[in-house]
């Protein structure tokens, strides 16, 4: 991963100097309204059309701008990073332009946000999908286990073979939240269901994803939930091939609405989306109201409508959706707490069986 970024950097030096110049130009003197609020974000190398976090974050910022009559490029804007070496200069530049809040999008920017926050004690920063422990940084995280629980409910109710699968990227605390939430959701509605889980050991090995999916489908699973980045591409390929040959299999996507990844055979049952736009909007609003939650780690979940099923879920029947809503309100009310760790999951299942 790190090597990739380095590779990208070196090559971008050759090809991207012009682009970089575009990114860093812009009025350094514009000050905007005195009483208004100015918010900005720095994308990672994906850019604002990455169909993922950066795009979602920018949509949130745009909505915020529209709702409060802010002007693009003076009151709210983004800077694109063409390499990991752009993170710190971009963040610093926005702070110098007197933005009240600067977002760093994605865990890749963790170090950059940390360093910049230390150097600019008065600046207000936010990091998405990671934690930076500094008094002037707010860390934005998601309760992935809650959204995963709901797609688990869908899988548990819709499986015809009583076998479902979970494919993870790298075995880590973060991905464990997806796994355990999902498993708990399945078991809640279908205690007899068998759940296969496996980690590919990487987020960019589509061939491994495909091989694992082949194994799961071969063992009789008909729905697979993946939380494995580009490894998931292989999962989709396997599902599409099988569907083409008449086997009724599904994939549940992750992070964003992965409807397009399931085409043309249409194998995406739904996706567990993380609404970065909601989180960005909410935190921007807090700053506007003068309530910057510095030093805190905010966890956005079902209550904030920041995780959940994607808009594309036309293959899920009405009664299943009703059940999903039921569980959703139970989670929001605190009646059910989806497990995050293996230990919590064991406890959860033990309680179910009581």
């Amino acid at each position: 991963m790190k090597k990739r970024v380095l590779f990208l950097f070196a090559a971008m030096l050759v090809f991207g100097t012009v682009l970089a110049a575009c990114g860093t130009s812009g009025g350094g003197t514009s000050n905007g309204k005195k009483d208004g609020v100015k918010v900005a974000m720095v994308t990672d190398v994906g850019g604002v059309n990455d169909k993922s976090f950066n795009q979602s974050a920018w949509e949130g910022l745009q909505k915020f701008g529209k709702d409060f009559n802010l002007k693009q490029n003076t009151d709210y804007k983004y800077l694109q990073s063409t390499s990991s070496n752009d993170y710190e200069p971009n963040l610093t530049q926005l702070i110098q332009q007197k933005y009240d809040l600067v977002f760093g999008i994605g865990y890749l920017m963790q170090n950059a946000v940390k360093n910049v926050a230390e150097r600019n004690k008065n600046a207000h920063l936010a990091i998405v999908d990671s934690v930076v422990d500094a008094p002037n940084v707010v860390s934005i995280n998601f309760k992935e286990e809650q959204g995963s629980f709901l797609v688990g409910v869908v899988a548990g109710l819709m499986t015809k073979t009583n076998k479902v699968g979970f494919i993870g990227g790298i075995d880590s605390a973060l991905i464990k939240k997806f796994e355990n939430g999902f498993k708990a959701g399945v078991k809640s509605v279908n205690p007899k269901a068998q759940i296969f889980t496996q980690y590919a050991g990487s987020f960019d090995a589509a061939d491994k994803g495909q091989a694992i999916a082949a194994t799961f489908y071969g063992k009789g699973a008909d729905i697979i939930y993946h939380a494995s980045g580009a490894t998931g591409n292989g999962v989709f390929t396997e599902a599409k091939t099988r569907k083409k040959n008449g086997q009724n299999v599904w994939v549940i996507g992750v992070d964003r609405d992965q409807y397009d990844a399931g085409l043309p055979e249409d194998v995406t049952l739904t996706s567990m989306v993380k609404r970065v736009d909601r989180a960005v909007y909410d935190v921007s609003k807090m700053v506007k109201d003068g309530k910057f939650p510095g030093g805190k780690t905010l966890e956005f979940g079902l209550k904030d409508d920041a995780v959940g099923l994607s808009e594309h879920h036309q293959h899920i029947p009405e009664d299943v959706l009703k059940k999903v809503d039921e569980y959703k309100s139970k989670i929001i009310s605190g009646e059910i707490t989806p497990p995050k760790t293996d230990k919590e999951y064991k406890q959860f299942v033990a309680n179910l069986n009581k």
């Binding site: 850019g47 604002v48 059309n49 694992i212 082949a214 194994t215 591409n233 390929t237 599409k240 091939t241």
Partner: protein, 321 residues
């Protein structure tokens, strides 16, 4: 699960993930047999993967349907060959350090393709997904044969057969034709070859272009059979794995074929291992590292010394002894 059931899962997925490695490793063999080290295989695969995705999408727009991925493979072959000529130019004509030039190819390929993807698809970090893939299929008639039918003729892509056939073809060309003899001679002792009237520079250019063609094909096959789109993470390390397969296979096309299949098998075993009673109790991490450990063991003890062609990596300068 029964033994047969397990094998029916392991073998086809081993062959599937080995296919791009076989093709790329063949490219490596051709280049290094002529005396040009090619670290740039990864970069050539990246170019091939990019071309494979972009042209499949383009051909789909033109309405070519299921022929799109196959035609894009042809384009990837040409593009890979053309791109590898940069490596040829630097390392043959300008006698640059071949390892450095190869690394530069890797840098360049990744930066260039990511840049172009952004330009072509409205700033997006990756290409759209292709609609027409080269899918795993059952070979008519043959897949009904007991035992070998389910193992080798079911759930398999035709590109896998292409890779195996090409491996045999390359072996034949290198060991049984005058062209192959010349190729090997410029890699072992270019001075002697030159005095016998073989154009060393030309032979090496041809070999490097061929390695680009195979590398490009390997990358494109990965995209149209497995990844189904192209982004900066699509090809990550497969080129180096192909390089390892080439060394493991002792610079022999059939050896490279076997090594790539072995890698695929080890990986497949690590994935399906959890379903096998005997392997189930082993912690997952051991299964994940198994391919690499097996490789080291095999290199250390079982295949003997891996010896490259004598003049591998040495630029040829006319008249110097």
């Amino acid at each position: 699960m029964s033994v047969m059931g397990i094998l029916e899962i392991i073998i086809p997925s081993a062959i599937l993930s080995a296919t791009p490695l076989i093709l790329t490793a063949l490219g490596g063999v051709l280049s290094e047999r002529s005396g040009v080290v090619n670290i740039g295989l990864e970069g050539l695969m990246i170019i091939g993967g990019f071309i494979g995705a972009v042209f499949t999408i383009w051909f789909e727009h033109l309405g070519l349907g299921a022929a799109s991925p196959w035609l894009s493979l042809l384009v990837a072959v040409v593009a890979g060959a053309a791109f590898s000529l940069l490596h040829g130019l630097a390392s043959i004509t300008f006698r640059a350090d071949q390892v450095v030039s190869g690394v530069a190819i890797n840098f360049l390929a990744l930066g260039l393709t990511v840049f172009l993807v952004k330009k072509l698809y409205q700033g997006s970090g990756q290409t759209p997904y292709i609609d027409y893939r080269i899918d795993k299929t059952n070979v008519p008639i043959l897949h009904d044969i007991p035992i070998i039918g389910p193992l080798f003729f079911s759930h398999i892509t035709y590109t896998s057969y292409l890779a195996v056939i090409l491996a045999v073809v390359v072996w034949y060309v290198i060991y049984k034709t005058p062209f192959g003899l010349r190729l090997r001679s410029v890699g072992e002792h270019p001075l002697a070859a030159d005095t016998l009237g073989i154009n060393v520079i030309r032979m090496r250019y041809i070999a490097v272009a061929l390695s680009g063609a195979f590398g490009g094909l390997g990358g494109a096959v990965y995209v149209v059979t497995i990844a189904t789109n192209f982004g900066p993470m699509t090809i990550s390390g497969q080129g180096f794995l192909a390089l390892a397969a080439m060394i493991f296979g002792k610079w022999n096309p059939l050896g490279a074929l076997g090594a790539a299949l072995f890698f695929g098998f080890a990986q497949s075993l690590s994935i399906t291992g959890e379903s096998i009673p005997f392997l189930k109790d082993i912690p997952n991490v051991f299964l994940l590292i198994a391919p690499y450990v097996l490789t080291i063991l095999a290199l250390a003890g079982f295949v003997g010394r891996a010896e490259p062609p004598k003049a591998d990596g040495v630029p040829y300068i006319k008249g110097r002894r």
